[in-house]
């Protein structure tokens, strides 16, 4: 059958939009090789000094390391909470399930700046009582990030659960399996990829989180995005170009790799 393909005008316009989408990502590449200390395009000489800064300057190294630790902590915590919550909704279908789901998704739909102010209030209140989960500390940031990323874990795990056959759980229950056995031996093994995906996504979201982080840190807990934010607001440091190139290469590799795998599978099928 003949398909109606987009015409010439649509194709030309889409190419322009596509260029618009990729342009800012390509623009950081030349800037990252400038030998100068300010935002500029190298003219006759290329330099790797800004890449060297990333692992030689303790500030950048510590920012990256702090972001990794906060990401692992908050993603682990949020994934566990989100998984149990989704399981509860799926297994017991409680009354007001829609309302409970709405509460769980609240931080995802609220404007980021409202969440930021809310978590700022939360952490400075906590700071009055303890110094561990407090304003401008690693665990304080991890706690705030957990709030922001937990809805995404709920969504991803719920999507995987929607594909599980309920009769399996029913069979286990009729055979006398307790709640623990049903959850850990029957259902979780069937959604393990969903749970892993939820951990991965929430880690990435914590790793990139900036709006809330600006509100709840000042000088001690400086994550990588916080460091970039400072560099972008005050004077534009080309080290940001270098770290941006590194991040873009990682993302592009994953996305292109996935596209290639999908294309190869489609051809075989």
């Amino acid at each position: 059958m003949i398909r109606l393909r987009p015409g010439l005008i649509a194709t030309v316009l889409a190419v322009l939009v596509g260029i618009f989408m990729l342009m800012p990502l390509l623009a950081v590449v030349p800037v990252s090789f400038t030998p100068k200390r300010f935002l500029s395009v190298p003219t006759d000489e290329l330099s790797l000094r800004h890449y060297r800064t990333l692992y030689e300057d303790p500030e950048w190294f510590e920012g990256i390391w702090l972001s990794v630790r906060i990401g692992l902590l908050s993603a682990g915590f949020a994934t566990a909470l989100g998984t149990f919550f989704s399981l509860g909704i799926w297994m017991f279908r409680p009354r007001f399930a829609g309302l409970l789901m709405g509460i769980a998704l609240l931080p995802m739909v609220a404007p980021p700046v409202v969440s930021a102010l809310t978590l700022y209030f939360f952490l400075i209140t906590l700071t009055q009582y303890n110094g561990v989960f407090a304003y401008d500390t690693m665990l304080g940031v991890a706690l705030a990030h957990s709030v922001m990323i937990v809805p995404f874990a709920v969504v991803l795990v719920s999507v995987s659960l929607a594909q599980v056959d309920r009769r399996m759980d029913l069979a286990a229950r009729n055979m006398g399996a307790g709640l623990g056995t049903r959850v850990f031996k029957v259902i979780l093994p069937n959604i393990k990829f969903g749970v892993i995906a939820a951990f991965f996504l929430t880690f990435v979201l914590s790793w990139e989180e900036i709006a809330v982080t600006i509100f709840i840190t000042s000088v001690e807990a400086v994550t990588l995005p916080r460091l970039m934010w400072q560099g972008l607001r005050d004077n534009i440091d080309p080290a940001i170009a270098a770290i941006s190139v590194v991040l873009i290469v990682i993302v592009a590799t994953v996305v292109v790799g996935r596209a290639v795998i999908v294309a190869v599978k489609a051809r075989r099928a």
């Binding site: 059958m1 003949i2 398909r3 109606l4 393909r5 649509a10 939009v17 596509g18 618009f20 989408m21 990729l22 342009m23 800012p24 990502l25 623009a27 950081v28 800037v31 395009v41 909470l81 919550f85 399981l87 509860g88 909704i89 297994m91 017991f92 409680p94 509460i103 931080p107 609220a110 404007p111 980021p112 700046v113 409202v114 930021a116 102010l117 809310t118 978590l119 700022y120 209030f121 939360f122 209140t125 937990v150 709640l179 959850v183 990139e208 900036i210 709006a211 509100f215 995005p225 970039m228 972008l232 607001r233 534009i236 940001i240 170009a241 991040l247 993302v251 996305v255 292109v256 596209a259």
Partner: protein, 273 residues
């Protein structure tokens, strides 16, 4: 264990966590809005009458309206190729959507600075071509904010648009062609109306997202074209006025909840068709 306590074991941890770390603190923010600097609703009065704050509200609405229209149009064009192109075109379009989508908002804002700033690439090219003598002011103003926000919002416009386009039945289009309609006419009189629900959904989603958006306007606006979200930040950290910041946040939350309710209605099965 009884029937009621079992689900609680699974559901309570998250609900208790969010109640303590999110719902209660938001109640605290509402408390700030009516107690700082003194009890009363003067913060809400100020937010809704102070000409300076009103101008920020209007600027936010204006920028968001422009961003919504431009993102939805550009997103529509991109979705068209993503859904209806040949397999190779589809893959290439997908890369143009997903690679930027997964890249941090800070990296993207930096990319636009590298392109648009005073000594940036665009000014360099235009000068080399002899089009301009002095660098153009492309960033740290409203133009820069709109460009950066459109770039961020396009993927969010594409997802609902693409899913609306996927539901369009190929045979309807072929039938229109068979009846003698030109390709242009099929597009405007058959295809666009059939994806109208997706267009509305995409526009609302982008608008809701844009209103509360903080990072891109703050960096590309350079403190000159302040939007609501940045106003809240400035009132907390620069001219400490927590009561007003809290009041503006509450207003923002209410406005966005109303828009989201509209969006849900739009996306519910009854709203479509």
């Amino acid at each position: 264990m009884t029937r009621i306590t079992r689900p609680l074991i699974l559901l309570t941890p998250l609900l208790a966590f969010l109640a303590l770390a999110y719902v209660l603190p938001f109640a605290g923010v509402i408390g700030w809005s009516v107690t700082i600097p003194e009890p009363g609703v003067q913060n809400y009065e100020a937010a809704l009458t102070d000409p300076l704050i009103l101008s920020v509200f209007w600027r936010t609405l204006r920028i968001c309206a422009i961003v919504t229209v431009v993102s939805v149009i550009m997103g529509y064009i991109l979705s068209l190729l993503w859904v209806r192109g040949t397999p190779l075109v589809r893959t290439l379009t997908e890369l143009c959507i997903l690679i930027p989508f997964w890249i941090s908002v800070l990296t993207r804002a930096f990319g636009w600075l590298a392109l648009l700033s005073h000594r940036g690439l665009v000014n360099g090219w235009l000068e080399a071509l002899g089009v301009i003598d002095d660098p153009l002011r492309l960033v740290r103003n409203e133009f820069g904010v709109v460009v950066g926000m459109v770039h961020f919002m396009i993927p969010f416009a594409v997802f609902p648009l693409a899913s609306a386009m996927r539901t369009v039945d190929e045979r309807v289009l072929m039938a229109a062609r068979g009846m003698g309609a030109s390709r242009t006419r099929v597009f405007w009189q058959v295809f666009v109306p059939m994806t109208a629900a997706g267009l509305m959904g995409a526009a609302l989603l982008v608008f809701v997202f844009a209103i509360g958006f903080f990072i891109t306007p703050a960096i590309l606006g350079g403190g000159r074209s302040v939007m609501i979200a940045e106003l809240i930040y400035l009132r907390i950290f620069q001219s400490p006025d927590w009561g007003l910041a809290a009041a503006v946040s509450v207003i923002l939350m209410v406005a966005i909840s109303a828009l989201l309710a509209l969006l849900l209605k739009q996306l519910s099965p009854k709203g479509v068709r």
